[in-house]
Amino acid sequence: MSFLDALIDHINYIGAMALFVIGLHTVVTHSNLIKRIMGINIMGTAVFLFFVAIGNVTGGVPPIIDQTNPDAVYINPLPSVLILTGIVVVVSITVYSLSLVIRIYETHGTIDQEEIAKMTSEDRDQ
């Protein structure tokens, strides 16, 4: 019972971990470049979820000053603010890598990493 309690208490952490592993698995196993970018995004989401979950206070309210309820418990806004920045960063990275994928498709004619590696190693042997 206590195990289940602990599970439910920490469900957001566990979720974040699971997402992280899923993302990593995607990056490791897939050779399609776009899928790898998606994997990175999933990993990013996992970390953000984890970060935001830290700031959560059970029963807390959004941290906006409310004159009617002066002694409300606010959740910690700082992680959310930080993560906003993190999201911006990951968005830009994603956009950048997608544009690179477009370029790679134009120059190599494929977005499969195995094939690209094969092509480059052939280039090098010549």
């Binding site: 990013g44 984890f50 830290i54 993190g86 830009s92 690179l100 370029r103």
Partner: protein
């Protein structure tokens, strides 16, 4: 007013990057001259700051006067100022060179963009050094990554795209690992300010060991990826070899070092020596450094593209620095710092001289270097000085770093490391010496040797000569620098 200088440095770089697009219609030399002016201003202000920090001691700078628990805080101590001075000085030299050779593979309309990226790069590097905040470090690190990858892919060639993509993928994994570590630390301490986190970590070590342990693992691995420590070096040779020569020099000589400095900051300022020794991180570092020193050289031996070879050589040299860190002693840290300096100088000289050869002769293959020394005496002479430094011949900075590292290894009681050091130095000789020999002693294969001396711009020659001179000068008189570095190492604790 002096206390305002750090933020002014940052803003100067940022402002310069923002102004360049507005100058699009004007002549390009205006941009480069303005940029040089900005660099010199920052250089002078860094010197002033260094003097101030040494005489008056370190100081904090709160952005917007917010409390350090909430706001961003800059810490200006010997460590950050010395290394920012190092970065700016080296970049000035490379910048002057690049005004002659930004052309290598970069389209003319991209010049402006190249300098925008360069200044944002500088902004991010200085930010990383100054900031006293873990999350802020992350943000600057990401700015650095994006600008780096843009610089790598600024040449519109297909190998640039694959190299840049590889860089993005692995580095993003690294950044996320780092952020995950920050999250774990935030979880137990509730701060992102390095000092507050450090206090929290020290007191929370007994309560939440699992958290801290995982955080160390993830942060070290994440930064290890970005610093190209051995098993994660895979992105480096391609990325550094495909970039334009001047930016390869910046990437290899400076950018990678910045990540190592972050690692030093995290290991020594956030966790502290006690904790990292308790979880045996030094052992891990020493092992991967040793493997990296050997394997990097072995991979370098096999390369035919000279810039890829230099890239792998960087991998090996990063191993030297990590080894110094892994000894977790004052001497080791000092040796690592010195090697950051000396490798910065030597690798910049190597990349720039090779860049001059590529610019003039359009050859990149190591086997085609026969007789180049007669056609490009200055470039190959500087190359030779730097290469001898890599081998560790006396009178160059490389010898002093080797001596320092060796003494630090003895001090740490690790005699095995000296063997690694020597073997790595020997392997370095194995791939640098043949290039020098064929450049100066063999005749050109396809044509009778013609005494056509190099016709590369003066703006490229002068930086080369300055770098060569600095390598020898610091190799001859390292005392001052070493005492400064000792102060920097002391300011970490």
């Amino acid at each position: 007013m002096i206390t305002q200088l750090p933020i002014i440095n940052l803003l100067l770089f940022l402002g310069m990057a923002l102004i360049i697009p507005l100058f699009k219609k004007r002549s390009f030399s205006l941009t480069t001259n303005l940029g040089l002016g900005v660099l010199f201003l920052v250089w002078i202000s860094s010197i002033v700051l260094l003097y101030h920090v040494i005489t008056e001691g370190a100081f904090y700078y709160q952005l917007g006067n917010y409390d350090r628990m909430l706001g961003i805080e800059l810490l200006i101590n010997t460590f950050s100022v010395l290394f920012s001075l190092f970065i700016v000085s080296l970049v000035i030299i490379i910048y002057i060179y690049s005004t002659g050779d930004a052309t290598e593979g970069v389209a003319e309309k991209e010049y402006g963009r190249y300098y925008i990226l360069l200044f944002i790069l500088l902004f991010a590097m200085l930010g990383i050094l100054y900031t006293n905040d873990l999350f802020n470090t992350y943000v600057f690190m990401e700015i650095l990554s994006i600008t780096t990858v843009s610089i790598i892919s600024i040449k519109r060639k297909k190998e640039n795209y694959t190299a840049a993509f590889r860089y993005v993928m692995l580095n993003e994994v690294g950044s996320l690992s780092y952020l995950f570590g920050v999250a774990l630390l935030y979880m137990i301490t509730g701060y992102t300010n390095i000092e507050l986190v450090s206090e929290g970590v020290q007191s929370g070590w007994s309560l939440y060991p699992a958290n801290i342990l995982t955080a160390i693992g993830f942060m070290v691995t994440g930064i290890g990826i970005k610093a190209a420590i051995f098993p994660f070096h895979i992105w480096l040779p391609d990325a550094h070899s495909t970039a334009p020569s001047s930016s390869s020099a910046i990437l290899s000589a400076v950018v990678v070092k910045v990540y190592i400095l972050i690692m030093i900051k995290i290991l020594f300022r956030v966790f502290g020596i006690d904790i990292i020794q308790a979880v045996h991180i030094p052992t891990v570092l020493l092992v991967i450094a040793s493997i990296g020193m050997i394997m990097g050289s072995i991979f370098a031996i096999a390369q035919t593209d000279v810039k890829r070879m230099l890239g792998y050589s960087s991998v090996a040299q990063i191993g030297y620095i990590v080894m110094g860190i892994g000894m977790v002693s004052m001497l080791g840290l000092q040796a690592a710092f010195f090697h950051i300096f000396s490798h910065g100088l030597m690798k910049a000289a190597l990349f720039l001289s090779v860049g001059a050869v590529i610019y003039h002769k359009k050859i990149r293959n190591v086997n085609e270097f026969d007789g180049i020394g007669f056609q490009m005496p200055v470039a190959m002479f500087v190359f030779s000085i730097a290469a001898l430094g890599m081998i560790g011949v006396p009178l160059t900075t490389g010898f002093i770093s080797k001596l320092n590292l060796g003494l630090a290894a003895l001090d740490a009681g690790q005699v095995v490391l000296i063997v690694v050091l020597i073997v790595s130095g020997f392997l370095n000789a194995l791939y640098y010496l043949p290039i020098m020999i064929s450049a100066f002693l063999k005749d050109n294969k396809d044509q009778q040797r013609v005494m056509r001396v190099e016709k590369i711009p003066k703006t490229m020659l002068v930086p080369l000569v300055v770098l060569g001179g600095l390598i020898i000068a610091i190799g001859l008189f390292p005392g001052e620098l070493l005492s400064l570095l000792e102060a920097a190492a002391l300011s970490l604790t």
